[in-house]
Point group: C2
Chain length 450, copies 2
């Protein structure tokens, strides 16, 4: 409801654009943030979008373009003439440009690289870092001061840089050899004695990371210390860039989406659910289903192996879904808890033994309860005490096994530097199902003495 | 590796504390952030913790105490005398105090309320808002200026307030009637002409929310606009407080953990995995397993209903796990995609028809592929063409059904203001399993003409 002010009045907007009313357009857009203007673009034709880009001040249009998807940006750049593209590119930060270039056709990439020649050096150095590291996330624009700079002079520097760099919440203090030795917040600068030198009130040592640090670790550090930016340094302690909080929030959401999707056996969609095509959705989802399908055929083979047993006591088949579902659910509980614990840094592979022992105990507790319940159920439905005992013990064992496997597999994946959530979903299900059925029918053979 | 500087040297620390070396302690802790000092507490006895709290400046010790868990805080307050507690409480912000009080025994709560009498009014107003709303998250400390204040004067105000309030990234502009009419960033204040009045460069209208706005919406707004704080106003537009980015990051992580846990059929743990007791873990996990267990007994009843069929064609039992796993997995894929889409605001219940139609098509595409595969598998393992056809068609139908149910249930829950992830996990599995088995055996009856 607090969005009322921003409800897109597209018909009015389209009318303004179609009569070419630049003054009316500026009035219509006044007070709107770039991200709000970018949202209006969804309902506009490419021509209408271009009209807006050309009619508003360059600062604003650059900010709006940066809020669009890379596909939309590419379309707009394709239509604009070289001069207009060049002006826009100069206003877009090197790290955003690098991300955009990665999404373009070779031809368009060459053109944009040519038109942003001033930034090529900077962009090339950014291209060296994988997308999911601090180096891939960082902006290379920041404010530095010397230790002997006064608060007053530092504020002057911030004032000078404020229009050119993304974040002026902090100024970084560097030594004569350009090493990062401290950090001061804009707040600190404002409240300090104007004549005081930065070294007197700067914070040191600085919490920092390296370009190769994984984005998940960067997010953990920023979250722990409640910073709005984290400096990235090379191994000589030279400041390379900053990762800012807004990028980190996107990372946290991206990582959470990845975990949730993969644990549920689908690759995350790269675009909003409703904007994704059916074909793309099938591509993201069918892979894991096929893997699951192939491995699930093991379960069919195992059951075929026990065909005689099944034929003799068909009642045993009644409890296959119960056994499988309970096992699968227990396993995904453990997996979900472990994936989050690993993801937010609450557990590490060093804790393996403790974690397994913990899951064994949890499994025994839950398995006993469910085992007794299912033994009674099996006795009632099957009318056979031995079937009841078989089902009860099988369920106990399956729950313990599932709890352990559900914790163990994500930890192994983590150790092997794979995404724990990828192995968790389908593999745990299959392993738990197959082992569970083996246990169940072996127990049945043994207990019923066949 | 960049944490090396902060590796707790507990033995050294314990030694310093045990000889009562206050100067040594201050030197040891120098350059450490409050959150780092709080981490050291884990390995210390309560007496040792108290020694630190008493030996460091009050500002620092208050900040350290706020980084501890509520249980740890309660322990420390219990041991400290009234005067020491009072000094600490005065330094802790009202919103943190409110959260702490909620975790205490009645007795301790009374004592702390008595010792922080100055803040009672403020705390009482905060207690009115549920924990998961903007009102429950907000801090009531912020900087306001009038529209006619100059940049220079505003900076003076910020300087005055900087030691008392949490966030000075923004100053909020209020009218004579105390209505929120604009916002200026500290950055903007610093770069503006010192004599310029705030109204000349303030940003308006202000993006804001109400105390009852759900935390997930607050997170979406802050993420969309890349703000570091969002103002909370009452329905007369009077500023009540601020939700800051660090709290929102915690919310995002909490919501993601909740989604992941609940989708996997467990309640989220309230504490880190390794610090949770086995008993608590069982409590969080066994509930859903029991629900699942009760509903899974439907599947046993359904199978019992088809006992004659199963006895006649025992081969049909071989493909129960395959059918159930594929259905369950397809359902949780849809659920995971929808829960994220609803959670980050990419889809709403208005899109229900579009979403269902989309899932039907995805289901047909994936189901056809898997159906053909399973028909071949069933023919090979079962040696019977009719079984192959039955399994193939059943799998196609189950996949379509699962895709639709997996999307439908979370949306219904969302509409009913329940957490979509809670219904998703166990209910989808059970519904898909039961309907799947019904479809499978009904098809078998029909195709094999019995």
């Amino acid at each position: 409801m607090f969005f009322t002010v921003y409800v897109p009045k597209d018909r009015q907007l389209k009318k303004i654009i179609n009569i070419g009313d630049v003054a009316g357009l500026r009035k219509f857009l006044k007070g709107k943030r770039p991200v709000d203007i970018a949202e209006l673009f969804i309902d506009l034709s490419l021509q209408e979008q271009i009209f807006i880009v050309k009619s508003i001040p360059l600062d604003v249009s650059a900010a709006v373009v940066q809020e669009l998807s890379y596909a939309q940006q590419a379309e707009i750049f394709q239509v604009l003439d070289d001069q207009a593209v060049r002006s826009l590119l100069l206003k877009i930060s090197a790290d955003d440009l690098v991300d955009l270039l990665a999404e373009l056709s070779v031809e368009e990439r060459e053109r944009l690289l040519r038109l942003s020649s001033e930034k090529q050096g900077e962009m090339r150095s950014l291209l060296d870092f994988p997308e999911d590291t601090a180096g891939g996330l960082m902006t290379t624009e920041f404010v530095t001061v010397k230790a002997t700079t006064t608060a007053e002079e530092a504020i002057e520097l911030v004032r000078y840089w404020a229009n050119r760099v993304e974040t002026v919440a902090y100024a970084y203090v560097t030594s004569e050899e350009d090493k990062l030795i401290g950090v001061v917040s804009l707040r600190q600068l404002v409240i300090s004695d104007p004549k005081a030198q930065v070294r007197e009130f700067m914070f040191a040592p600085v919490i920092k990371c390296f370009p190769e640090t994984h984005q998940e670790i960067v997010a953990q550090i920023l979250q722990k210390y409640d910073f709005v930016a984290l400096p990235v340094v090379d191994h000589e302690d030279k400041l390379l860039g900053l990762v800012t909080i807004d990028d980190v929030i996107d990372v946290i959401i991206e990582e959470a989406t990845e975990d949730l999707s993969r644990l549920s056996g689908t690759e995350p969609l790269d675009e909003p659910y409703l904007q994704s095509t059916v074909k793309k959705m099938v591509q993201k989802r069918v892979g894991w289903l096929l893997v699951l399908f192939v491995t699930a055929s093991f379960t069919s083979s195992i059951l075929k192996h026990f065909e005689d047993m099944l034929e003799a006591v068909v009642v045993l088949a009644f409890f296959i879904p119960l056994l499988i579902d309970t096992g699968g659910n227990t396993g995904s509980q453990s997996a979900a808890l472990l994936i989050r614990a690993l993801g937010v840094g609450e557990a590490s592979t060093k804790d393996l033994a403790r974690i397994i022992w913990r899951e064994v105990r949890v499994g025994i507790a839950m398995g006993s309860l469910l085992g007794i319940g299912s033994a009674i159920l099996a006795y009632v439905l099957g009318g056979n005490m031995l079937v009841g005992i078989t089902v009860g013990i099988a369920l106990l064992l399956v729950v313990i096994m599932a709890a352990v496997i559900g914790a163990f597999l994500p930890m192994v994946a983590y150790k092997l530097k794979m995404d724990p959530a990828v192995v968790a979903g389908p593999f745990i299900t299959t392993l738990v199902d197959s082992l569970g059925l083996l246990v169940y029918f072996s127990l049945a053979l043994w207990i019923m003495g066949m």
